[in-house]
Symmetry: C2
Subunit: 454 residues, 2 copies
């Protein structure tokens, strides 16, 4: 009798996506009288709040990724499957993967969000976003190659283009990227080059609203902007991006058109639901919001589908304060835990209350020792907020296996200003370095692009 058959008399919970929401649901169900199958197309959980540190060369991928088999795969009732879900069939209670089909009693979907270019998907090749480890390594390559190119070129104008970094979007990710790049250019590597002065690098943060970190209280936004400017970041608010190409960013400021020449453009301006969202909406008649997120019931289920739950960034939960919950890790964790508890209660024939999120606050980090924190009862900025940020992240990393090393790496980086992970990886082949590294997406078809990504 195989393990699968042994488990077969128990209700089967299928969880799609090993992000914070799915993973916390799986962890919570690890000892429950159910069988659990966790499906993800990657073999690891990504600690996304620290992804910008990989993109800026402070941490290595392995320091913020933990294999799913290590976190939940050793639970006796849990199967981890490396595959991609392509469809669901609520009538048959089936999940269809590329390489198989699985039946469920309860389905929990947490496949998250990806970048949103608001109808300009072709901007992605010149202005990548930061969602995956591969995105982070690509951005790291772009940032550090830019200094190398500036060092080699003789035209002052070209040098300056390579030394200009534009970040679109003044939310936490944009603020964190801009702060980290400014630290690198203006401090960490200022002694490493002979033909350029990296302290003259221009780092521009562009935000459409009238202040950075728009969801934060106004005084924290102002403090964040002041900290960014102290690090040498130009903060441009009330700006809309109208076009992006390889080295040019067109922006509109009221009636004015502005142009920024920058060879490194990063996108942190919007998110949209993952590809599975449309299929879910079609198969369940669920409503979606403008970003494609699934509107969920007060118990996080899909309307008329009480056994299908949507959790994490993919869920639009509008039953609290009349606005959707933010797409942040603490919300996802809470939602994952709630659904796990609800499933166990249902199996026991019990009812539990609707989901409600207890706001633990928001944090955004700016450079090596500044942050802003809105903890509800108190607002912090500067080094005190940074310490809260450090300990909050270590606390959550405790639940995985990497905390000790990340803490050491942080300490190490703090004193050495991040010497470690500044690697430009990805083969450098026969072609021109610059065009090969930055333009390879221009002239290839979509099917070839898929190959490139592999």
């Amino acid at each position: 009798m195989s393990n699968l058959e042994k488990r077969s008399s128990l209700p089967h919970v299928v969880i799609v996506g090993g992000g914070f929401a799915g993973l916390y649901a799986a962890k919570e169900l690890g000892n429950a009288p159910v069988k659990v199958t966790l499906i993800d197309k990657r073999n690891f959980h990504l600690f996304q709040p620290l992804l910008y540190q990989v993109a800026t060369g402070s941490l290595s991928p392995a320091e913020i990724c933990s294999p799913l088999r290590l976190i939940v795969g050793r639970n006796k009732n849990t199967h981890v499957v490396l595959d991609e879900v392509v469809d669901i069939n609520p009538e048959q209670k089936q999940v269809i993967m590329r390489e198989g089909v699985v039946n469920y009693d309860y389905l929990v979907i947490g496949t998250g969000v990806s970048h949103h270019y608001f109808g300009n998907d072709h901007w992605e090749q010149d202005a990548p976003g930061l969602k995956s480890i591969e995105n982070a390594l690509d951005i790291r390559r772009r940032i550090f190659l830019a200094f190398e190119e500036a060092e080699k070129l003789s035209s002052p104008q070209e040098k300056q283009e390579w030394l200009t970094f534009a970040i679109v979007g003044g939310g936490p990710t944009g603020v964190e990227l801009a702060g980290a790049i400014a630290e690198i250019a203006h401090k960490s590597i200022k002694k490493d080059f002979k033909e350029i002065d990296t302290t003259k690098a221009r780092i521009v943060l562009i935000e459409g609203m009238n202040r950075v970190l728009p969801p934060y209280p106004e005084d924290l936004s102002a403090k964040a902007q002041a900290s960014l400017e102290e690090l040498g970041v130009e903060v441009l608010t009330n700006r809309m991006v109208t076009n992006i190409d390889k080295n040019t960013l067109n922006i509109r400021h009221g009636e004015q058109e502005e142009t920024i020449k920058a060879r490194t453009i990063l996108w942190a301006a919007g998110v949209k639901a993952s590809g599975l969202s449309e299929i879910i909406a079609d198969r369940t008649s669920a409503e979606t919001d403008r970003a494609g997120r699934i509107m969920v019931e007060p118990d996080l289920s899909i309307k008329n589908h009480p056994n299908i739950f949507v959790v994490g960034d993919l869920a639009h939960f509008a039953h609290q304060d009349n606005k959707p919950l933010p797409g942040i890790a603490p919300v996802a964790m809470e939602e994952g835990r709630y659904v796990a508890g609800l499933i166990v209660a249902k199996e026991k024939g019990r009812q539990i209350e609707s989901f409600s999120y207890v706001d633990k606050g928001s944090l955004a980090v700016i450079g090596n020792n500044h942050a802003v924190a809105n903890l509800g009862f108190v607002k912090l900025s500067g080094i005190s907020a940074w310490l809260v940020w450090v300990f909050a992240h270590i606390y959550y990393l405790i639940e995985f296996d990497n905390k000790l090393l990340v803490m050491l790496q942080w300490g190490w980086n703090y004193f050495t200003r991040g010497r470690g992970a500044r690697l430009i990886t990805g083969e450098i082949s026969e072609k021109n370095l610059v065009s090969q590294s930055f333009n390879h997406g221009n002239s290839v078809s979509n099917s070839e692009k898929e190959l490139i990504k592999s």
Copy 2:
């Protein structure tokens, strides 16, 4: 006056390649009255002796790579240039790069070696070798995806194919890879899967000679084989590979033909000179050996070109014991240092003795706490050899910036059996996971392959 002009009255040493040979030449010249330009197509030095630990998920790339700018780029007389050398012109004393030309007074070339498939280059896609960080990440992906595939498939025969790992070549790299994969399958991950028993994985090491580690004394070869077998590696000697495809390895054993069904085949059987070798030979009329390495004079220069030196694995130095020096890091370091000293002496009008290598011994590691060491005056095996190996590597890493973290990572891995870096990276896209990960090279043209590698 730019930095370049300030340096211009001094003799110019151009070093091509930032491996052990080139890097040690550059380090040695850091305070000498010369100007130095170090050209590499990567921005980091790779500590190659530990590369197999990245391929087997124990270390992260950043732990064995150090940015060249950090090691030598801060020396006042040293320029680091990220570019690829495509030609040399000894008459004009010029080095031609993709993006520029540089004049030299002394030229030091250490561009190393790559894999040698003995006329069967098409085997590479199914049996990759281990030379670059990208190779290591590719191999890591293959190894860990193989277990995932075996877990998913239902046919016992297919499961067994995915659970069979064949390593071609019984030199140090092959021995190290086989030992590490056996540790992973038979120990580290044995609790992680539900549908397969990873302790039944078959790890086969194939060697053409009559024993593993052929250059070592016979009794050490025997001890290495015994240690490998204890870890569960099948050691097949006197075997010649006759064909390789996706899941089949054909080998000849005397008159017998044998077939091994394996989905993961790794190549550690031979090396050939880097692509620059042919150009050097053509431009300088240098002789080369069968592997394309440049025959050098007793002072490591090229015959009739007293100002051009070849160092490291690319050099064939046959003036000691009538056999070429082995392609190992200690030889490369010594050669780099020697040439640096020779250049300084020449500038002072002095002569120095011919190069001679003082053999410090050879080491090969087998699994988590075994090794064999031939230190000349003493032969070691088992844990004592492993300790020598650990301290020798830490000693050499001391010269860069990573030693502390690598030591901590090793300690960590030793007690946790390497939980950290077992990540399958590289985007998993729309296509079938298996074919996408393993076969994408089959149906694409060469120009597309270049794109894939980027």
